[in-house]
């Protein structure tokens, strides 16, 4: 289900905001040239909140141990391995929409996500 979650101006350039959902927090990123990406707010390493990291190019550095995550694919860049889950985004004019996950069909439990303790 596509859902309008805000406009591009709500997110600082090279920054991120969080959408809280039943399936867990989703981090929505804005790059320097105004591209928008979304990932579950959970680092594949130890669950750090990616929304709190430094955005650079099309990547974000996790605030906990500095793994770099590709915003487009969710892949971990560099020497480490892993993958953060991506969420489909559309940008129409200023308006950002996310394809909200259907909680029932998720292959992980909401409880799992809670353990990451990510905050708005």
């Amino acid at each position: 289900m596509w859902m309008e979650i805000g406009t591009i101006n709500d997110i600082p350039k090279l920054g991120a905001r969080v959408v809280e959902s039943a399936a867990g927090d989703i981090a929505v990123f804005r790059t320097a040239d105004d591209e928008i990406f979304a990932l579950y707010d959970r680092c594949p390493h130890k669950g750090g909140a990616l929304s709190q990291g430094i955005v650079h190019g099309k990547a974000v550095a996790c605030p906990l141990h500095n793994w770099n995550i590709d915003l487009n694919t969710g892949d971990v860049l560099g020497p480490d391995n892993g993958c953060a889950r991506t969420v489909a985004v559309s940008l129409n004019g200023d308006v950002i929409r996310l394809q909200m996950p259907d909680v029932k069909t998720q292959d992980f439990k909401a409880q799992d996500l809670k353990a990451t303790g990510t905050n708005g």
Partner: protein, 811 residues
Amino acid sequence: MKEKLVVIGNGMAGMRTVEEILKHDAERFDITVFGAEPRENYNRIMLSPVLSGEKSYEDIIINTREWYIENDITLFAGDPVTVIDRDAKTVTSARGETFAYDKLLLATGSDPFIIPVPGTDLEGVVTFRDLDDVNRMLDAAKKGRNAVVIGGGLLGLEAAVGLKANGMDVTVVHLMDTLMERQLDEAAGYLLASELKNRGLDVRTKANTKAILGSEKVTGLELDDGTVIDADLVVMAVGIKPNVTLARQAELDIARGVLVDDQMQTSDSDIFAVGECVEHRGATYGLVAPLYEMGKVLAEHLVGGNGVAYQGSVTSTKLKVTGVDVFSAGDFSGGEGADDIVFRDASRGVYKRIVVRDNKIEGAVLYGDAKDGAWYFQLMKDDTDISELRDTIVFGQAYAGGVQADPSAAVAALADDAEICGCNGISKGDIVTAITENGLSTLEEVKAHTKASASCGGCSGLVEQVLALTLGDEYEVQTVKPMCGCTSHSHDDVRRLIVAKDMKSIPEVLQELEWSTPDGCPSCRPALNYYLLCAHPGEYVDDSQSRFINERAHANIQKDGTFSVVPRMWGGMTSADELRAIADVVDKYDIPAVKVTGGQRLDLFGVEKKDLPGVWADLNAAGMVSGHAYGKSLRTVKTCAGSQWCRFGTQDAIEMGIALEQMAWGSWTPHKFKMAVSGCPRNCAEATIKDFGVVAVDSGYELHVGGNGGIEVRVTDYLCTVETEEEVLEYCGAYMQLYREEGRYLERTAPWVERVGLDHIKAHVVEDAEKRAGLYKRFIASQEALQEDPWAERARGGKDKHEFTPLKVVA
């Protein structure tokens, strides 16, 4: 008795000759040097970066006063020789010193050429030759706006760019059609002119100066087409002429310069000459490489070498303007029988032209990418037959013979006699030998042993490649370690350039210094943000997206994504009201844990991010502000009970600690900064493992610096003892500012102190009251802009609201 050698001219050629003589036989001569300039011998070619602010005078001194003493050389600096008496074999100086010589060396350099137009003697008309000229220009840049440089050659352009870096509006007036016409062809000259125009210089070619205007002080310049250009400063940089005043007085043979033979001997067999003042086989020179060759030949000749002869030099030039890569060598006028090989890449702004005659390189002009200059120059000097390389030669050495591009492969492929350092004529073989024989491992050591890269520094990259090839894995790039993968500049270079080019924002730095990534990375962006903040206090607008989360959210992120909050408790003191307010906050926001920290504060753990503004508002209401426990900034000042309570206390440690903390809170530093004050040498506050520690004694306060707890424990170094509380504050502020200005981002004071040395810190903070006062003043000035409670701005002021609220909550 030793033979007496008198040297006239304490400049580059004269002193290089002396160094060469000492190298061969330090005991041979009793040496006396006269210099017209009132200072030691320095690297004249680096005056350009001194003007632009990229280097300081101290950086470019070649031989210090101590060096003269150690080598038993008598130096009369600031005392020019006025008379040579060849019959009596004596020289006499302006101050009236008369000295006998057995051998005399003339190394008087050259004088700037002054064009014969009215107004050249007005105040504000200067030349570009020595440090005094540079100081005059810097002074003028402080007072005036408009500068005109007459002459678009190497010297004029370096002056123009330097003045621009000092904030002046600069016009270059050049007589010929294209800039640097003696070194560059038309195409390269054109590219250079457009680059300089892009940088905001006004470049006018085919412009002939008619008069310099003004009554006492210069006000402008008139061209012969009638145009008038406003000017507060006019720099005359149209060329040089050999300084032959003394030679003429002594009736030596002269033409354009002092005539010398292949042994550098003048028409008097006891008088020799080297440098820009000489004329040899009809040629005069204005670059250092030939002068060094002359010095080498003469030194060998003087210590008894047989059959050495100076054969004249082929020269090459490089323009020393950061970010403009220009190289030229040989003859590129082309003409009959010469072939041109040309390569252009307009989008990268690259132009290369190699002129070939009879399968040999006759000349080369490179613009935009000059890294192969040394290679072409070597092929040219060796008269190498290039027919094999011809197809790919224009792409440079890495492609020679179709080999893949790998810079170290290119250096590996160089022959042992290939020249690496053009200024000093040092070959690859010389460097390799020096490295293996003396066990060298850093660029600095190679510089000290061989002089490679010690003059213009343009070859330091190549020297490093040679080091890496020779040492293999043992070699760690040290001196020019880049800040991060986005750039080849080191932390120190970037800082210097930020100040020198007056850069004001991160995008500007990335653009100007040609970052390889569009918006930097998590290691350079926070560093740049700090460097800019430090360089432009009160003016630079902090870029929160370039801050690590803790500094962006003003609290410490914990492993579960919650935050911890540490309110400031000045000097570790608190009160019933503060404690009550903290207890209320803990209850109200359901904060799961409260802990006493190592720095005498209370840490509230497990605060949800969205609760932070509310928590801060309540703490603010009770008078508490941010404790900056999250920042590369002043953290805490820990104190002991001191004379208020303790029976051993000699001074009031608590009061001292509070005063320090109130002065220093809110400051950003390269890394975290901790202090402590103990009331007596029992040192209960553990002041000797802090960045700045105070230990009170009967007579006052001992100050200690550079300590560290943490992973690598380091005990402080003792700095000095002061008597009053005010002095403690001033010394502390000055020391913090020195660290703020010199420390590399994420370098704690302990490694910084070890890197720069305690003597350096003493020289700035203890021994020189003026320097200390200056540092302290800059610290206080920057504090005025920084001492604003970031919590209050966010709690009540609503700053960065997006940081603490979700974009959307979907049920």
